[in-house]
């Protein structure tokens, strides 16, 4: 059951009921005022005409006869110059001009038991005498009562509709909030693929659910990253750590051991552990998108030139030839340090795996709205079946793992490409490996 006192819908309904009730009350009051004004102005015109008619008759007829037509709710009286009643209704007073007499005991002569009502009266002079005519204002009063009845029933309708609306809204909101609660509880319980349900209506709750889902997505990605790093660290760091331990144990226990060379080997092991660990952390952070906030305009062409220039001598030493065809002025939004490292990894890969005499080619050009970068070599390449696999952590194609490297180079390239919203593809260079990265130009 919904806790009514805490339900936003009920609060809203109550607020809207008050607002509507007030607005309707105002509308009725205004109507009453206008209608009454109209009635009174018609009565005045009517009274003035009657007074004129009686006045003309008074000139030829006696007051009693002149007033005889005024019956029912109409009252009239004639006073002499001293204000003494000559004929007609005695309750009227000899005053000239318009006046409303509020609910006075003004009984009309023929029906003295009739209810009191207010009377609009008009007095004028006819020669020396004063003529006063009046009429009961029951029409104006009845109109007021009718409007009041209308107001009360409107309020009743508004209250009814408000309650029903509030109940409906409260029920619907409650149902959606309950679903959200359930989804979040299940997320908190570890089902990190859970997302908030969307109705597709695009309303406020949907928009909020979308925003919350984006957060859930990000949290899930971060958790996944942490899990991945932990697993990877356990996977690939245990081996060198074990080796390091064995070396130290050997140095400690065997008296004839060449301690100095063992120590330098141990130091190299430690170095390797740190390198792997750094690479893992870096990949994890890149994958988590930690650095996107620092993105800046980067001259891709310049980064490529710097990297190929830096590795030029190394390529020559490896007996390889490099060709570069980098179009100038290619700009992307990104992180220069990481882009440089990613390109360096690609070039290092070529140096390491393409072999002596290989041709390495680095090119970059604008293609429509994208900047396409290709690093290719004429080495042995990667079999098609393994191309997706080499982008994963620690995947190295030689089973022996004899060549140096952490098996994280291409993983980082992939992570950096993803972070920049770029697509990375590996293909055959006939022969060799061709790595293509397509960025969106800035």
């Amino acid at each position: 059951m919904i806790a009514l006192r805490r339900s936003i819908a009920v609060h809203l309904a109550a607020l809207f009921f008050l607002l509507f009730a007030g607005a309707i009350g105002g509308a009725f009051a205004a109507s009453y005022w206008f209608v009454r004004a109209e009635i009174v102005s018609r009565m005045r015109a009517d009274l003035a005409a009657r007074a004129d008619a009686i006045a003309s008759r008074l000139r030829t007829q006696s007051p009693e006869i002149a007033l005889s037509s005024e019956t029912g709710r109409r009252v009239a009286a004639v006073f002499d110059a001293n204000g003494a009643l000559v004929a007609g209704q005695p309750a009227l007073s000899p005053v000239v001009g318009w006046r409303e007499i509020a609910a006075g005991p003004l009984h009309l002569d023929e029906e003295p038991e009739q209810e009191s009502e207010s009377v609009l009266r008009y007095g004028r002079r006819v020669g020396e005498r004063i003529l006063v005519v009046g009429e009961g204002m029951h029409i104006a009063e009845d109109t007021g009562e009718a409007l009041l009845a209308g107001l009360l029933s409107s309020w009743a309708f508004v209250a009814l509709a408000g309650c029903a609306g509030a109940a409906l809204i409260a029920w619907r909101v409650d149902r959606r909030v309950r679903r959200t609660e359930e989804a979040l509880a299940s997320y908190a319980g570890g089902a990190m693929s859970t997302r908030l349900p969307l109705t597709g209506s695009g309303d406020e709750l949907d928009r909020m659910a979308l925003a919350v889902n984006a957060v859930l997505e990000r949290v899930a990605a971060l958790v996944e990253t942490i899990r991945q790093v932990t697993t990877d660290a356990a996977h690939d760091l245990k081996t060198p750590i074990t080796r390091l331990r064995h070396r130290l144990a050997e140095a400690e226990n065997s008296p004839n051991a060449d301690v100095k060379s063992i120590i330098s080997a141990a130091a190299a092991d430690a170095e390797q552990i740190v390198a792997t660990f750094d690479a893992l952390l870096r990949i994890a952070q890149v994958e988590a998108g930690a650095r996107r906030a620092r993105f800046d305009l980067v001259d891709l062409s310049d980064v490529l030139e710097t990297v190929t220039d830096a590795y030029g001598p190394d390529l020559e030493q490896a007996g390889q030839h490099i060709e570069t065809a980098v179009a100038p002025g290619l700009h992307v939004r990104g992180d220069r340090d990481l882009l440089a490292q990613a390109f360096a990894n690609l070039v290092e890969n070529a140096i390491r795996h393409a072999g002596c005499g290989a041709h390495v080619s680095v090119s970059a050009e604008a293609r429509g709205s994208s900047a396409q970068l290709v690093v290719s070599d004429s080495g042995p390449g990667i079999p098609e079946a393994d191309r997706a696999r080499v982008l994963q952590r620690f995947v190295r194609l030689e089973a022996s793992r004899s060549t140096p490297g952490t098996g994280l180079g291409l993983t980082l390239v992939k992570a950096v490409a993803d972070m920049h919203g770029a697509t990375l593809s590996l293909s055959d260079n006939w022969p060799g490996l061709r790595v293509t990265i397509r960025f969106t130009k800035a």
Binding site: A275, D314, D337, Q341
Partner: protein, 233 residues
């Protein structure tokens, strides 16, 4: 020089302090950020080495506080965090340089030297001279013993960095940062091959070598004593 060391890990602190003392420097050590800050504000130091994660007050806050009260001493920030943003955060806080753990002492010493004795005049100078080697920064030409030497742009930059830091060891990572703007560790010998190319042009045709290798640590450019250089130990 007098160095303030703020580092809570005892073995690391001892390693750094011993190294600095052996190199003839004076070291004050604090294992706590707050105490370190008090030391930094009450005594005068030529440089500070601050670990990023220390109890009391964390390293970044120490650096920020020191900068906010106008302390100008060079600060080298150490960190065990491998984060890719840590360097930027450290520099933004006001540190002058940044070194990730674990590190070789030679690296720390080289960076500290580069910071502490930063020559103030080099920015305005248009020529650099070490012994008979003269670099014209405006015309971008290099001469040694009057003979012009033709250098590639990157070789020029490498030589410029070495000349600006004459007599000081420049480690491999420092050269990677300053010459190529690389903030990662290449798996190949970029620095070595470029230095050997530079040597082939700058040193080999001449009698006395100017570029010296400190094995496993880095490179020093220095004129021989008879050409005005400081004798090397």
């Amino acid at each position: 020089m007098k160095v303030l060391l703020i580092e809570d890990d005892e073995p690391t602190a001892a390693y750094i302090a011993n190294g600095l003392r052996q190199a003839g420097h004076e070291v004050d050590h604090s294992a706590d950020g707050r105490d370190g800050l008090v030391l930094a504000t009450t005594c005068t130091y030529d440089a500070a080495v601050v670990d990023r994660m220390v109890p009391g007050l964390d390293g970044l806050a120490v650096v920020r506080t020191l900068r906010s009260i106008g302390a100008k001493l060079p600060i080298l920030l150490l960190t065990a965090l491998g984060g890719i943003d840590d360097r930027v955060e450290g520099l933004e806080a006001g540190a002058d340089d940044y070194l990730g753990k674990p590190f070789a002492f030679s690296e720390l010493m080289a960076r500290l030297n580069a910071l502490a004795r930063r020559p103030p005049i080099t920015t305005g100078a248009t020529t650099l001279q070490v012994g008979d080697l003269i670099m014209d920064l405006v015309a971008r030409t290099v001469r040694r013993a009057g003979q012009p030497i033709s250098l590639q742009p990157r070789e020029f930059k490498l030589l410029e960095v070495l000349m600006r830091n004459r007599g000081r060891m420049m480690t491999r990572t420092m050269l990677l940062e300053r010459v190529w703007d690389f903030r990662f560790d290449p798996k190949t010998s970029i620095v070595e091959t470029h230095v050997s190319r530079l040597r082939a042009k700058v040193d080999r045709p001449f009698e006395a070598p100017l570029i010296h290798t400190e094995r496993g640590m880095g490179y020093i450019l220095e004129a021989p004593p008879d050409m005005g250089g400081v004798p090397r130990r």
